[in-house]
């Protein structure tokens, strides 16, 4: 889960930066950058959940 989280963080960052580099339409740029941030939010959630202490009965 942690590895997937880190991967999604990196992927989100790449999507956001690539959108600025390659797209010219402001609306397209905005959508892709927001999509990148959404990927990052998902990655951060997975990473945090991966590190969260599970309750005893789930261990």
């Amino acid at each position: 889960m942690k590895l997937v989280g880190v991967f999604l963080l990196l992927l989100g960052g790449m999507i956001a930066v690539t959108a600025v580099a390659l797209l010219r339409q402001p609306s397209e740029q905005t959508y892709f950058v927001l999509a990148g941030v959404a990927f990052e939010a998902l990655g951060l959630t997975l990473l945090a959940r991966g590190y969260a202490l599970p309750p005893r009965n789930a261990r």
Partner: protein, 425 residues
Amino acid sequence: MSFVFCLLCILLLPLATAGLALMHQGLGRSRSAAHTMVASLCVLAVASIVFISFGFCTAGVNGGPAHTFLIAGNPWNLIAAERPFAHGIPFDGTPSALVLCFQFFTVGLAAIIPVSTGSDRWRLGPMCLSTALLAAITFPLFTHWAWCGGWLSQLGVNFGLGAGFLDAGGSSTIQVIGGLTALSLAWILGGRRGKYSDDGFAAAIPGHNIVLVLFGCLLALIGWIALNSAGTMLFYAATPALIPKILLNTVLSASASCLAAVFVTRMRYGKPDASLIANGWIAGLVASSASSAFVSLGSSLFIGFVAGAGVMYLVEFLELKLHIDDPGGAISVHAGAGLWGVSAAGVFSTLPTLSGRGQLLAQIIGIAALLGFMLPLIHGLNLLLNVFVKQRVDSDGDRQGMDVRELGAGAYPEFVVHGDEFLPR
């Protein structure tokens, strides 16, 4: 830009660091108080030496030598190419020397933030090594991107996104970088002994000296006004005429944030909580940093209020839901409020050259870079360090407290020796 006025502001910067150090000490346990202060000094020392030796090569100054790549026809300035020990920086009254001094002090401010999170369990040696990584790699890299002519600061020139990534006082470069490092270390170190029960319930471990914490807040205010003023003059060519606005906005943001913390804690717990109010005060300062010169006074109040209220909920969410043990609330205050400050700069900036959508998009791209590139880099480096040198103290040290374990004596030897008063017996 006034050289003397800017230099005066830079000279006041260490007060922000001193304020944070006092806060971290007061919010930790008494049995690790001396360790926290010694750690703060050591971290400052390591950060200063490593930054001047190597870090500045990556950070550089605006207009200095840099590695720039052409991608899809546009220049991407990724990393500076200065020489070690700041060779080539002229000390002749030019702004380059001031930028170097500013970075020299702010790297310490960023490096001291994780000390709070690692309180009571982070060993001194690994702490210094982790600080060296921050001062040599992560802080200078993002500093170059955001402040010193890097690709984020050029988003306006190269891609028409407002004025490029806007962060005059270091909401992102100092606060979020420090906060994300704190988050990474909280994950690696795990919780303090006795913080979480086997069922996952969190025990309250209050700070041991709230007076020092609140005094730290007042010291930090002076340092933060200097930080915001110096950053705006250095990186946005502001004149001293803008300082009164920066001063008012910084204080208003902190005030609104403090009162929001009073209101929220009073509403949720019945009485105002002193340590959370201190966190609220700092959150307002942190959120004000990005755009204190470029927003209206009313906007500053709003930015501060949201920062203060938001941080109260974020502290609780991290502690109770994500089981992140952060004794001083550094992650919420610095990373959380810092990210909000960066976003708010895109929404509320009133510079006539900024176009609304473009500026907000530039800020969002900055946040994407922080989370997408800097967090994995910071976490990867700290995980790698942990493979070679265990960052967490062993279980005996956890029980004894860091003062006795690492320094051989407590901070308050004439007072009562505290047992494990917050641990299950």
